[in-house]
Symmetry: none
Subunit: 191 residues, 4 copies
């Protein structure tokens, strides 16, 4: 038997204001200097309204991530038919973003390390928007290491992992590095 729920429902304007404020402050100050008080003030909201629905900044950041408020949308994998070239272009873009928004990217990794929700959100965000392994499947046969039966899921993981590691080491990377990485992991183009 259902309890008779009454009273006001969750305020959508408040929810949106909070997520907006979170994304803005995340970009400004990074994950570890993000404070609930700051978010509440920026959003024009009581702290309790945040604690009521999210409980801490981890899930809050995760929700921002999943709604695409943190990572710029330009990170989608292009599709020109030439998978190898698309991947190179995408990697180059990722490297550029990493350099331009180093703090944001590192903050995201820190957030992922501290909160499972953010980790999962980050993974969904990356693989969802870019769908790398799907594209690799379509490219089987075009490079030395992409033969029938290739474990494209693992290859995608290795590629993204290499990117994350690059971010952690703060070494700047450019188009040449993108090419080298693809050569190493996918092998040279065939034919």
């Amino acid at each position: 038997m259902a309890l008779p729920r009454t009273g006001p429902v969750r305020s959508e304007p408040a929810r949106v204001a909070i997520l907006d404020a979170t994304a803005a402050l995340f970009a400004e100050v990074g994950y570890d200097h993000l404070t609930i008080e700051g978010i509440a003030a920026r959003a024009g909201v009581g702290k309790q309204t945040i604690y009521r629905w999210w409980g801490s900044k981890g899930p809050l950041v995760a929700e921002c991530l999943l709604e695409g408020r943190l990572l710029p949308g330009r990170l989608t994998l292009p599709d020109t038919g030439d998978v190898r070239a698309d991947m190179a272009a995408w990697l180059t873009t990722v490297f550029r973003v990493m350099e331009a928004e180093q703090r944001l990217v590192l903050s995201l990794i820190a957030a992922a390390a501290e909160h499972p929700e953010v980790g999962a959100g980050l993974r969904d965000s990356l693989t969802g928007s870019a769908s790398i392994s799907g594209r690799l499947d379509a490219a089987i046969g075009t490079t030395a290491n992409l033969q029938p039966g290739a474990l494209t899921g693992e290859l995608a993981e290795a590629l993204i992992g290499a990117v994350v590691l690059r971010a952690l080491s703060r070494e700047p990377a450019g188009p040449v590095d993108a090419e080298r990485l693809l050569d190493a992991v996918l092998g040279a183009p065939t034919g």
Copy 2:
């Protein structure tokens, strides 16, 4: 003209007590709940003694890392002559440690994301102790993707990156996953 330095020199017992306390607390509560006050109390030391020599918890953790106080020493890459098998054994061990000490590993990643020193230390610790790319060089020709001219540095990066990503996603991994990852990145063993 040099000023005449006088007075006592840095206290080694204090230094060691601080690093011990840091390592112990890091394992207990993780990176983000690590506090300078807690370390000072545990080490029986004044806070100023920590700030005098390290300045913040980042470099402190980095120094613990470089002295091998955080990661168990068992993470060295074995050397039986069969590089592929050695890698598989090492990866399996790494996966096991990641599962057993998830918080420690994730805290380390978080620390690396927040402090360059820790990132560098982590990188040195991993590649230094395991020296993966050197071993891959020695194994050229033994797997499909390890042909002469192979970019072993990038391959090592991809492998470790995949491991870090696995840690961030909290998905448990075992020996089978280790094999699949190696198959994907290094290719099947030849002959």
Copy 3:
């Protein structure tokens, strides 16, 4: 022309439940830890229902007081014909109550200090139930300081004031103190 009053009228069960809850919580936690939220929860009532009719906890407590829900009814001045003995008995009882329910009594004073309504209610409650000055009028001539023309209103005020001061100073008082107070203020019995 009168507007036709329609819709439900004020709920008596709600009113009673609120006053009951207020009296109970007042006795349990005292005036300054009394909260509207706590009262509403205990009474099974919405907060708005309290704010609609009382506005704050001051008038609420005053109403409880005037309905006799706070002070035990035993504080009435006995009437044996011997005014001096009656007063002594009453004072002794008051002192005993003050000791047994110190928090309640002090909370009442605090409430009176913060809200005029409570102050007035307290005054009415004390002088109304005990009607001291009336009895003193009837006793004129029986003690040294109760001569014709005595200002019995002021004397009553002085007596009750002394009692309040005793409560504020937390000094325990007993029958002997009651006698001394009466001796001092009313003078020794004549004849």
Copy 4:
């Protein structure tokens, strides 16, 4: 054996700033709207410095009271030789202060009701500065109710109690009321 106390010592400027701020805010907003945060902000002090030494606003207000920062110094009982006239003048002054600073006086009563320290402080402050019972001792024989053996302590208590009650009831009082109260409690002047 005394512990070897070392380290910095309590900061007197901070202590004074806190008491100043408390007294000022007490006069401005009254006891129940007094907040630790407000005091800390006004004093330019961290909240912890207040909690370290006082623990709550009760003892803080008590200390202000005992240092004479709350009640104006003009409440001292004059001494012209004519005790009856001195008392009347003093009472009139007290009534005037009560009217002019009603909130402060009532706040003080509320504070006394909530914190024993304040109650004790208030009592010391009143009897200390005015020393009523001592003066009454000296006036024995000059009024009808001040005969040898009079319980001057109780009489003083009754007088001050009447004053407190007047404050609680918010009834304005003037010189005439002062005279009537003295007539009632002390009796008419003899000879």
